[in-house]
Amino acid sequence: MPKDTGIGASPVRREDVRFLTGTGEYTDDIVLAKQTYAVFARSTVAHGTIKSIDTSAAEGMPGVLAVFTGEDFVEVGGNPAGWLINSRNGEPMKEPKRPVLAHGKVRHVGDAYAAVIAETIEQARDAVEAIEADIDELPAVVDMNDALSGSNFVHDEIETNQCFDWGWIEDNRDATDNAIKNAHHVTTLELVNNRLVPNAMEPRASIGSYKASTGEYTLHTTSQNPHLTRLLISAFVLGIPENMLTVIAPDVGGGFGSKIYHYGEEALVLAAAKKLGRPVKWTADRTESFLTDAHGRDHVTKIELALDKEGNFLAFRTDTKANVGAYLSNFSTATPTFLHGTLMAGNYTVPLVYVNVKAVFTNTAPVDAYRGAGRPEATYSLERVIDKAARELRMDPIELRRKNFIKPDQYPYASAAGLEYDAGNYDALMDKMEEVADVAGFEARRKQSEANGLMRGFGVNAYIEACGIAPSNLVGVLGSRVGLYDAATVRVNATGNLSVMVGAHSHGQGHETAFPQVVAEMLGIDPAVIDIVHGDTSKIPFGMGTYGSRSLAVCGSAVVRATEKIINKAKKIAGHMLEASDQDITLENGVFSVAGTDKSVTFGEVALKAYIPHEYPLEDIEPGLEETAFYDPANFTYPSGAYACEVEVDPETGKVRVDRMCAVDDFGNVINPMIVTGQVHGGLAQGIGQALVENTSYDENGQLLSASYMDYTMPRADDMPMFHVDHSQGTPCTHNPLGVKGCGEAGAIGSPPTVVNAVIDALQSGGTNVTHIDMPVTPARVWDAMQNAKSEEA
């Protein structure tokens, strides 16, 4: 019988009512008194020297209040990289300054070099057109190979386009090379992990305001992590003392990574608000979003898998070039390295892994973490090369994976890529996948497709990822410049209702519903009396926000710890009220009782006593009932899964249709199955989108060809099947109090190789010897691959 409240229940989401009635409050919905508008002048060339910027005409336009250029920000700091990577030779990565507004050079199309503030947005737009910028266009650096071999530098001062040359695990390099040299069989695959644009449906927006009487700044912004944004602005960019800057992220309309980072527009509106003494608002239009939101993926990889004659994996060797774009976005250096290389052992007992990643500057938008962040790239490389190996060795792809799986009795398992997996059962996931996906019925479905003139393929995948992105000590050793704990404050009010202030910030994940389920379960009270407060640095403890599927595993654990402290104190108060030792007090269904007696007080009575402490042992217990906990986990969490996909390919057109998509995931314990399932659905759609339709295309001059929804294919409803999702095979995380792992990115990690494996299977079974097609697997690419295979045979 499913529960209807607490942990494991699926209550409808409380935040839905405002979203369904148009009363949500997103940043652009906010109107502040005397608000002005910012519009940015953005480079139309990918690479150029700024010779002069004449703003005088713009300044004279109606309604214009101020014009800013890069000159106005030379004295302030730059937007930093959050993660220091050292190259194989020990040198630190190249870290060119990322200014608020471009100065000296523009480095990608969309790079902002000036901003106009005006009374209305239309006036600001008109005035931007009147800015005279003399920019000498330089040849653009777009292709990563050209970038590494040429002498045309995105950042002249570093005299290279290579940000770093990273090896992992460097001590295993020679052993891996030898294993590959001496192996019975080596499967090699070169592949591209296509560049994607996150495309949260809400474009970025920011409103800066400044109160001269107190010197306080406020930034309303579209952020997944308001405290991180405040820290970056305060400590690195503008130098505003942290206690003089409030960052508020109200309702956030999706992020998928793109709203983790601090962007220059946020600093601009704050600086402009101070100068003008009025609030300054900026809202991106969709083309600006395409040009300036941090993009995702963009890896070019060669992967080799060495096997013995029984099919045991001996080594994985990977050579990857990762595009970081024109500037280092905040986590751009962590994504292709520690979020990618450390996962390159997958779910397998492979003894050797070596990963080389060269990060490359180009005249394109910055690239950073996008849903999955490094793990989709790792999974795609691994699961594609394993599939290819199975085909070469004429082994069943499921059996080859099973043969090399880490077994349930091997945990904790030290992977060859340097992580310690705490729990998992990959065979159980594969068993469940075979059942849910009805693998047994595939051949009959294939015959039916053939009868309809279509080629049907089956693809499988096993993935592991690392999330609950945290342990500060570990990430500190690996180069992180921030800690990655989270925090929660549980405030019990005098009348018995609760405010729970959390460092995580929902941008669609349903925190306002899920976190109260945890607290209600622990206290035995109605979740309706528990309110979640998030997104406002003036109200919440210092937390690190929502990304990397970390909210429940890290912040949820902080909520548990703070609630435990509440229970401990409440028991002391109850003990006093009941004239018993707090050791003898039990809490059940919201009632504190003296064990073995009929004496009890309710949670509400204890709360009231805490705030009206008459006849209260002030010498032993403080009044009030409010507790804060910071939680810094011992390890990452390791969700894993087994996915299956069936596609139909039309041999006449190359069109691929996903017919069945099955995701069996191990998320550990599940707090709200409805929300978890929804998270998987969304990830699957993004993964299928990457596999089949989405691509970010720059031409050789660095012009973004796919800068609108007319040109960048977003997955639509009729591109998607109904999904089969299962998370019944959870193995609880061993090191956090809820046993949870994180579910936000899994779908986007597990699905791309599953889909591509299915397409290759369809083509092979249809008699066409195609071994690989790069994503997106468009009809044109499929058709080309089929024709090439045919002409090779002929």
Binding site: V12, R13, G22, T677, Q686, P715, A717, D726
Partner: protein, 161 residues
Amino acid sequence: MTKVTMTVNGKAVSGDVEGRTLLSSFLREDQGLTGTHVGCDTSQCGACVVHVDGAAVKACTMLAAEADGANVDTIEGQSNADGSLNVIQQAFQDHHGLQCGFCTPGMVMSAAALLKDNPKPSETEVREYLEGNICRCTGYHNIVKAIMAASGQDVTAIAAE
């Protein structure tokens, strides 16, 4: 500036607009009806769908002046008279047909227009109708399910979870 008058959610409203003012801007900026969202500039995403004289229209594609004299319905006017969620809104909540909520107003308005014309759409018909509404969060699974449930169809057989 041009003076426009229209009925929005049953209430007569008027305002002075520039020739270039879009209906979406008029609703959001002049009328404070910020439930109509703007997610793109090319009439692709559908977050701004409203009803103009009963037909689903992308409010970022229509000039405010073009809506002079029209009956305009927005997400803010969709709830039942007692303030409770209407059948479509309730189905979206019951079936978890929304996550971040940004595309949701447009989805609800499109769904209402679909069900008016086609009271019992098939799954394929729902998916095809939603071509002009992009959601990045849900993968559409639960949106399709919610719309079919709102039409009174039994959705228990739709793929597990």
